[in-house]
Subunit: 97 residues, 2 copies
């Protein structure tokens, strides 16, 4: 199944910036970054449980927001993208959309 | 139907910051802001066409990315949120999630 992960991490503190990096790192192991704070992950239920557990461990529930959107297959019928499709603008991280 | 709107606007320039405000403003007329750059909109096809057209007019396709995710009903089965649920942290804009 496809899951869209959207996160809003409060980066006003050093700790927050650290959380942001760790949340992104955790997502990278499960899917494709498509925007700064949005990943698309093709996972089974077990992997999704894994990802959720890891992300819940990283965020601060009083300051950050994490959303999962389960997409119905086929993915192409439910996802539409416009604009920038290939660029590198996150540190040295390639953003491939 | 429910549509999730995610946008990544390049705000390195003044023009980019202006685009960001205008994109958020356009989304506000169609749905609920749930994260800095994520809106959830309950719209019919006609309204969705409207929203898409307005947003495509605002973004710069060489610099920004815009994604629409169509959610299958019932929404509750496809959306999961964790963390911060009610706060005010965008200028004077209430963020109600």
């Amino acid at each position: 199944m496809w899951v869209v992960v959207c996160y809003d991490v409060n980066t006003e503190t050093r700790e927050g910036r650290r959380r942001l990096r760790r949340v992104a790192q955790a997502c990278k192991n499960y899917g494709q970054r498509v925007q700064k704070s949005v990943f698309e992950c093709q996972v089974n239920e077990m992997k999704f449980e894994d990802l959720r557990r890891k992300l819940l461990r990283e965020i601060n529930k009083e300051q950050d927001n994490l959303r999962f959107y389960r997409l119905t297959e086929p993915r192409e019928n439910h996802v539409e993208t416009h604009g920038l499709t290939r660029t590198i603008f996150f540190d040295d991280e390639p953003l491939i959309v």
